[in-house]
Symmetry: C2
């Protein structure tokens, strides 16, 4: 079924991304940003834009793919009958969003029984769209369209590592991260989902994060795998349920980072 | 003299920024990026783009403003006779540049005896240009033109703080930074000169850095001051020679951050 519908599924995904852009951009860097805290004591703002974007994407699915299930960051799970699930994070990087940085994004994945099938990382402010799945690995935007292909780096001392916060997860998780960070050429912070796009685009080698949700990582998995990379948890297993994530440009650099995460 | 030439000086600055964009963009996310290390043992790549952009800006000045001095990150100091100096950082954020992030920028300042007179923070990849000086405080780009105006935040627990690296300067500098970071609502990393633009744009409240050069900070000073903010060193004095820098959205939040930096 997926084969015959693939072109149509890409169209639906792009229509959803267009709808999310239109819903979000009026609020980005706006003066009337409404935020509220989701976590007691934490700082995890959800903006009006976040909710509006998921509603806009769900409206596209209600019209075009009512048979598919939905898992959205804002409105949770909606059952379907097709065996396919759209996994949506309308604004990945809400802290970056409220700070005005351009590296938050809209994440859209289509997932089957085996994991993500196709994924899209959209950056509305810059206008860049990273897409990966069967027969497609490309970034399009104001500077044209380019194929996505991961780097061939195999030595950690030539690798560039990204994570969103220097405070990575628990103390043990932080220690594991620091082992890799101490071995690479360069560690950088703060890029949210954009870091995964940079792995796919062949700009950086590794992203290591912890405490992720499924909707944070399914689109990056599809985009990075289509570009030649791989994404696992810190035990080398599947990462599409979230948690600890290691995204790598290729299997050799992945193996070296994984060994350090595991303490050897 | 500055009064009568002001419109012309803005034209020259914009022509320089256009020239730098044209020189840099072919190399951004390019596959043949030539880098070399400037510091023994350090990782401070200078790209072909960095040198080409400064040369392009110097060519504009040789034609349009041969009477002015130049201080450039790549090619050093060139004397002039006008009492004005163009202070240039062709690529601020070279680590971000080689990583493919969109938050590096071109910094152009025009400086007189009292410090920066006008400044421009340009982001070639996004196409955004932040400008500040007499009679001008605006950002222009793909989403149109907007005035720059800093935030009115006065309490640290409602403030957003940025710095480029979590490893801020010396251990003592890091401890001072951590005092402020521990008091604010949100600390974010990794935006290079873009963080200063976000202060001017009213998105964030504070940027704290150490070990800066004059060419890193003069353009941000002009842009932030024109938007209503202020930039000093960690003693509250002038920051235009670089070193320790505190950029703030307004005098009250500045005073609160400064007190913590000084240990009280």
């Amino acid at each position: 079924m997926l084969d015959e519908d693939l072109g149509r599924l890409w169209q639906v995904a792009e229509t959803m991304a267009d709808a999310a852009r239109a819903a979000i951009l009026p609020y980005f860097r706006g003066v009337a940003l409404e935020t509220r805290s989701k976590l007691d004591g934490g700082f995890d703002p959800v903006t009006v834009a976040d909710r509006a974007a998921e509603q806009a994407m769900r409206a596209v699915l209600a019209r075009e793919r009512p048979q598919d299930a939905i898992l959205g960051e804002e409105f949770g799970a909606t059952p379907g009958t097709s065996g396919l699930t759209w996994v949506l994070d309308p604004i990945d990087g809400t802290r970056g969003f409220i700070s005005g940085t351009p590296t938050w994004g809209v994440l859209i994945a289509l997932t089957g029984a085996e994991g993500p099938v196709l994924g899209l990382i959209d950056q509305p402010h810059i206008g860049e769209r990273f897409q990966g799945g069967p027969g497609r690995a490309l970034v399009s935007g104001p500077h044209g369209e380019r194929p996505l292909k991961t780097r061939a780096t195999t030595d950690l001392d030539a690798a560039i590592l990204f994570t969103t916060f220097p405070e990575v997860g628990t103390p043990a998780e932080r220690a594991a991260f620091d082992r890799v960070s101490g071995a690479v050429q360069l560690t950088r912070y703060g890029m949210d989902c954009y870091a995964y796009a940079l792995v796919a685009a062949g700009q950086i080698d590794l992203v290591i994060e912890a405490g992720l949700n499924a909707y944070d990582i399914q689109a990056p998995i599809a985009v990075i795998e289509a570009a030649g990379g791989l994404v696992t948890d810190w035990q080398g297993g599947k990462a599409h349920d979230g948690g600890q994530v290691l995204a790598a440009a290729n299997p050799r650099i992945h193996a070296r980072a994984l060994a350090l995460l595991q303490g050897s």
